[in-house]
């Protein structure tokens, strides 16, 4: 210790490091740390820089992160600032009473999206925030202030590239938009500096974007002048030519990651509420239903029921009080794929619900959201308030005489509440249990009144259909499944993400093109679509298309669009056990076949997964699966055996390996 020479700031910094070491270990650790530090200094006097570099470069995780935090190296700006960016509530100006107002606000929105000065966006859906988007935003804000740059730092949603979070986009007049990925707070100052000078931080740049779609009609906002890109630009890939975007067909999610979810002007700037204006201005409710029927849009929540037919039934149901309910229960233990979307573009859902309300003659709507989706609840709430403020929700919307109010309700946390009648119970403040059907919700739903319950993606799709026509939508996809679907990839994938693709896209292609195959680099062994009740299918089925009927025939379902990937090392029997356990936890207990069935099923599957299986058990699982699918009250129980049954069917080797050798 004697051979160490300190500079005052070095000593100070080192004291901070020591203070961050838990008290009990301090004395023991100190000599060791000093020894390491001395080695790093190599005889030089120890300065703050050396201590910091040593912490940053030489320490193993997790100590490194902790000490970096203690030294303030990870977050240059205070946490309070970050909160300020988030909380600086956006104030909407003006009202939208007619089509002319809407056009005016559209222009105002486009001004925000492509300003004459500088717009810097940070992707701040939950997945971005989890990876530090808030501190990045604060650091950008800080840099803008310090460098005296005139820029609008905006929190936007996510564009689906979860692996690159947090992302920052720089939009400067006359230049293409530059998107940076995996941005840290350290990089913020550099990005602002480059942005102000019209330059690019090349090693962080993911891509450039030359233009964005205004709506589905083909209108665009051009960012860049149409000239050939400058030399520096040429090195940054054109986003529209990257597979990740080229292979997607973005209809529902087209605004996500571009607009600020808390600025209604920006949604309107990209063609928002035009479909509503069109419907209220020139279509009868029956015309709206006709377009939706023609589009052959099927429910995105699981069952795949045609939305137009559901709406028609509700519009014909007797009664003058009707409701529209958005199912945002999202209980699938997979990925919460719509959460990111909702946090990015809540107005798309609101417009869809307005259209549904107009079509069926409802004047009240509820958005029911998963209890964990705190941020989504917040953002939908803000969006509703803004729509009310400008007059797009409330009485006499756009002067048409049509009135509609909307409320958001946070659920209590029960998977079965995704089932539409259980959801209605939850909305009424009752227990999480399905109701008998009939009566169907379209005849007697919320508070006994005719009610349309639709998945949030279903509802969000409607505005595009109304704007561009059902025929156009029906021209996309396969004969049985029209349009596009948001798919979320998770499990063993190199790049977890969510994407929107045309129905009929081959599942294997989705995994390779967007998620880059498995994370382990090994072969895909199995995949599961449709959440916990979906079948676990073998790699030989990767050629299946994204299609309600094709997946149904293969013993799985499209469900709400989760796609779980498992590699060769995955113990599929154990995954089936995990899912059976999920049903055990989530069975509501209303009906005996499910309540007792999932318990017994879990006992048996656990026994097999532990390597103590018998042939008699396998036979029993089959019988139970059949009995439960026939006798259970709702789909939760009916499909609870699907994972283990499909594993038994497609992975006999794995199952055989789990058999007790002595008896069988």
């Amino acid at each position: 210790m004697a051979d160490i020479k300190w500079l005052p700031d070095g000593q100070e910094t080192f004291d901070k490091v020591i203070a961050a070491v838990p008290e009990g270990m301090r004395a023991a650790m100190k000599p060791k740390l000093i020894e390491m530090l001395a080695a790093k200094a190599g005889g030089k006097k120890i300065s703050r820089k050396i201590v910091e570099a040593w912490v940053k470069e030489d320490l193993p995780e997790p100590q490194r992160s902790v000490l970096m935090a203690a030294l303030g190296l990870d977050r240059p700006a205070a946490k309070a600032d970050a909160a300020a960016v988030k909380k600086a509530a956006w104030k909407v100006k003006g009202a939208v009473k007619n089509a002319a107002d809407l056009a005016k606000m559209k222009a105002a929105g486009q001004e925000l999206l492509a300003p004459k000065t500088l717009r810097i966006t940070v992707s701040s859906a939950s997945c971005g925030l989890a990876k530090g988007a808030e501190t990045v935003a604060a650091a950008l804000q800080d840099a803008v202030k310090k460098q005296k740059v005139n820029a609008d730092v905006v929190l936007v949603g996510s564009n689906g590239m979860s692996w690159a979070e947090p992302m920052v986009s720089v939009i400067k007049a006359g230049k293409p938009c530059i998107v940076y990925g995996n941005v840290t707070a350290d990089a913020a100052a550099g990005i602002v500096k480059a942005a102000a000078a019209g330059k690019i931080v090349e090693d962080l740049a993911l891509m450039r974007v030359d233009s964005i779609k205004v709506d589905v009609t083909g209108e665009k906002i051009k960012y860049a002048a149409d000239k050939a890109p400058a030399a520096a630009l040429a090195k940054v890939k054109d986003g529209s030519k990257i597979d990740f975007f080229k292979k997607q067909l973005k209809i529902v999610s087209r605004n996500a990651g571009i607009i600020a979810p808390d600025r209604i002007e920006e949604y309107i700037g990209l063609g928002g509420y035009q479909a509503l204006a069109k419907a209220l201005g020139s279509m009868k409710p029956a015309d709206v239903i006709k377009e939706v029927k023609e589009s052959k849009l099927r429910g995105r929540g699981g069952a795949g029921f045609p939305a137009g037919i559901k709406w028609e039934a509700c519009s014909k149901a007797a009664g003058d009080k009707k409701y529209i309910v958005c199912n945002g229960s999202e209980g699938d233990p997979e990925i919460g794929l719509h959460k990111s979307f909702l946090e990015s573009d809540p107005h798309m859902l609101i417009e869809g619900m307005l259209l549904a309300g107009y079509a069926v003659g409802a004047d009240e709507g509820y958005v029911y959201l998963n209890d964990r989706y705190v941020l989504a609840v917040e953002r939908v709430q803000t969006a509703i308030e803004q729509a009310e403020k400008v007059g797009l929700l409330g009485k006499n919307i756009l002067g048409s005489g049509f009135s509609f109010t909307l409320k958001v309700k946070r659920g209590g946390g029960a998977y079965v509440c995704g089932e539409e009648t259980a959801l209605l119970n939850a909305l009424e403040g009752s227990f999480a249990e399905p109701r008998p059907r009939p009566p169907l919700p379209v005849h007697q739903g919320l508070n006994g009144k005719p009610t349309v319950v639709n998945n949030l993606e279903t509802l969000s799709t409607v505005s595009a259909i109304v704007l561009k026509g059902g025929k156009w939508f029906a021209g996309i996809g396969t004969p049985a499944s029209k349009g596009t679907k948001i798919v979320a990839l998770s499990g063993n994938v190199a790049r977890p993400c969510w994407v929107e693709v045309a129905m009929g896209t081959v599942i294997g292609d989705i995994i390779t093109a967007f998620a880059g195959g498995t994370a382990s680099g090994k072969k895909v062994k199995a995949f599961q679509t449709g959440g916990p009740s979906g079948g676990i299918l073998p790699a030989s089925q990767l050629k299946l298309k994204l299609d309600y009927d094709a997946l149904g025939k293969a013993g799985s379902l499209l469900g709400s669009g989760g796609l779980l990937v498992m590699d060769e090392d995955c113990d599929v029997v154990d995954v089936a056990r995990f899912l059976t356990e999920f049903f055990l936890e989530e069975s509501c207990g209303k009906c005996t076949p499910c309540r007792e069935g999932v318990k017994r099923l879990n006992e048996i599957v656990s026994c097999i997964a532990d390597g103590r299986g018998t042939k008699a058990q396998l036979a029993l699982v089959k019988t139970m699966g059949e009995a439960m699918s026939a006798a259970c009250f709702c789909a939760l129980g009916k499909t609870a055996a699907a994972p283990i049954l499909t594993v038994m069917k497609h992975f006999p080797k794995d199952v055989n390996g789990k058999m007790l050798k002595t008896i069988n």
Binding site: G24, S65, A130, S340, G429, A432, P496, P532, L564
Partner: protein, 306 residues
Amino acid sequence: MSDIKWLPDGQKTFDKLMAAVPEAMRDAIKPKLLQMLAGKAAGQPVSGDLVKTWVKEDLPEPQRSALMAALGMKPDGDQKPAAPVAAAAGWQGNAEVMFERMLQEVPDMMREVFRGKLMGIANEKAKGGPIAEDHILSIVKEIVPDPFKTNILKAFATMGGVDLSNLEKLIESTPGGQETVIGLLHAVQAEFGYCPREAVTMISQRKCVPMAVMYRLLTCYSAFRLQKPGKHVVTVCTSTGAYVNGGGALLKQIKDKIAKTGANITVETARDLGCANVAPAIMVDGEIFSGVQAQAKLEQIFSESN
């Protein structure tokens, strides 16, 4: 060990001393120390002062200085003996609990020094009489700086019961019947961290929903807690995606660490955090973290909750 008789403050002081011993050595050293201490006490009940005298007189360096510091004793060289902490002449109402609560905000190392000082001030205010709640309250308001002040005052507000004034206002501004209950319960949990019986009863009465139904709602929905959670609540993502990627490891790591450190942290799991795309994700007190951020946050709350 059975032959040691403790006075309450003696036991407390000894525990503090043990806490200052590096964890790895604690078990090995404890019997030895107890043996030494028993020798010193020679059959008398062990008081806090005795423990301190023993540390000062009998222990070898460097342990002696380290433990003296840990017990808040003045280092050698300082000739003046530490001023004995004056005792209160008596306490009224919740005053003693409030006094202790106030001291909790002081970092461990300095707590004993502050105890003496603050006790002196309290005695002064009480003019020799028993210390009342008001005396403590005025000390907090006049002397204690923020943010400690706010923390302490907040804690005082719920002391000896649950402060239902916010809930009362919320119920008044929430028209409707049973359909409002889940929302109200979310608000209760956001305020208290769980659903205390008093709050549930109030909702039951005002919204005319039987307690039996309230209980069934509280238990059929997984979002609600009936027990007060620890200082922090960590929710670990147990989505299928996380599971396939070996997500169980993180949960185990956190649970083991809590078992080892006794940190005041509640661990829960959720299959639907909705962030499997940045797995393994955790939620800490409602905020989502993943990867490096998650590790750093965990370290932070562990160091706060010891």
